[in-house]
Symmetry: none
DNA sequence: GTAGCATTCTTGTATAGACAAGTTGCGCGA
DNA sequence: TCGCGCAACTTGTCTATACAAGAATGCTAC
């Protein structure tokens, strides 16, 4: 049973980890990197025992760790299967369209429709916690995946943030990457998700019929001091994207809202 | 080692539970009922071995279960200690339509369209992690606020959960309240939110034109052991409700998904 | 063809023993 | 008295084995 010695020696520090951790890590990597898709079967205990040259208890310990995370599931008699990739990215990554696209292996794109300073709207002043006399910057872009239009992004930045973005090539680099390079980090974000019908403008921009269902995501991004960084309304094609949320009892973050207008 | 025979025989059904579960349950009770206060030390492995007359592995399994819940913590060399009372109230409140409506000061209502046992669909078997031969219970309801239809709820329960709901008045009391009264608690939930157009059926049920935008929320509710409790697809009138999510960097739980079908 | 049974596979539960690693506390020596 | 080190204790890691229970599969009998 000399299988351990034949493991990839790449990560230098890894050889001090217990065996079951290394097995769990390898399986977790397989899941995160897509070699084991959700719904797929994990190797059976016997296979893992042979592959890693360890005892059954060790294999079971490894899989128990993954199960405790909710990453995989199984029950007596049935092969373990992948339930879903663990969500562990930093918040900026989660919000950024660019990071999202890259993670999917798609080519993110952006077509800037409008970018410049302008007087602030009442809604924006409210959302960004600014006086109605303040100046702000407005950015409107079409976001694409492999050239397919997926989302319309309409963002308002406070003046000092917008100024930072001046001169940046907003059709390529992520706004978040740009801001992070200047020490601005999104620490908290509030989202409000709703469904709307496409009006004539959005239908044209997204190349869909009028009235098609759209996923509208309103976002307020705040820094560590709860200072508003951006207020954005992203409008996704309903047939191209949806959102996934995990709530644990420890971090209850999803709430329903009633739109009073419709009564 | 005849300690098992001397256990309290009170709960009649408990004797079919595995040993480690019974030990974990007893410790959990000790914590919940204050006999073991936060900060206090748990019995050592040796004490538990003697007290229950089991082997070390079994005791370790019991404590591993508590640790996975975050109820207790320990590390090598140090005695296990209580970290906090196990959570028994939480996430259900956020998810429950009834709680939501009450919080808004509205009168929640439900009209049961269908409730009963039936063979499981492939999707449901997948979501609930059940064999395709399993039986399940399907519940379909129209949810109302002050008699206005707001949402269609289509839920599938595993057999043992559905059986519990038999006889309950599902047009009044919250399903979650009903389950909680029986010791079933939603500890984790995964939501997937998307926008769809109303088909003829849903348009009729919600009293809106065909093609109207709807907010579709697919939810998998899991208990502390990540065992699926329910799989539900809730369809909201787009003009009556939206969702709010707060993300902090500490608890990043929102992810975007790409719907591959639309390319 | 199909229902039902039996086999086989996979996971769950439990025990026992061995060694490693970290913590705590006691006692001894300076 | 103070500090160091050893010893005892506690948990972590790992192996090996045995039997039970649920699931999937294939085969047989009808």
């Amino acid at each position: 049973m000399a299988a351990i010695a034949e493991w990839p020696q790449s990560d230098a520090g890894a050889d001090r980890l217990p065996l079951y951790r290394r097995i769990a890590d390898e399986l977790r990597r397989d899941i995160a990197e897509g070699r084991l898709a959700p719904g797929a079967s994990l190797p059976t205990e016997h296979e893992l025992i042979r592959r890693f040259g360890v005892s059954r208890g060790t294999v079971r310990q490894a899989r128990a760790a993954l199960r405790a995370e909710g990453t995989v599931g199984g029950s007596q008699g049935r092969v373990f299967s992948v339930k879903g990739a663990p969500i562990t990215q930093p918040l900026g990554e989660l919000i950024s369209f660019t990071s999202w696209a890259s993670g999917l292996g798609r080519q993110p794109g952006a077509r800037v429709i409008d970018f410049g300073p302008e007087p602030i709207s009442a809604d924006a002043a409210d959302a960004l916690d600014l006086p109605s006399s303040a100046r702000c910057w407005r950015l409107e872009r079409i976001r694409t995946l492999d050239t397919l239009p997926v989302m319309i992004e309409r963002t308002v930045f406070p003046d000092e943030i917008g100024t930072m973005l001046q001169g940046a090539d907003l059709s390529i680099r992520s706004v978040y990457a740009e801001l992070e390079a200047r020490g601005i980090v999104v620490a908290t974000a509030r989202h409000r998700i709703s469904a709307v019908a496409a009006d004539a403008t959005d239908a044209g921009l997204l190349d869909i019929p009028r009235g098609s269902p759209l996923l509208r995501v309103e976002r307020r991004g705040l820094d560590r001091d709860h200072q508003p960084i951006e207020w954005s309304i992203d409008t996704y094609r309903g047939d191209r994207a949806d959102f996934e949320i995990e709530n644990s009892a420890a971090a209850p973050t999803l709430a329903r809202r009633l739109d009073e207008g419709g009564a």
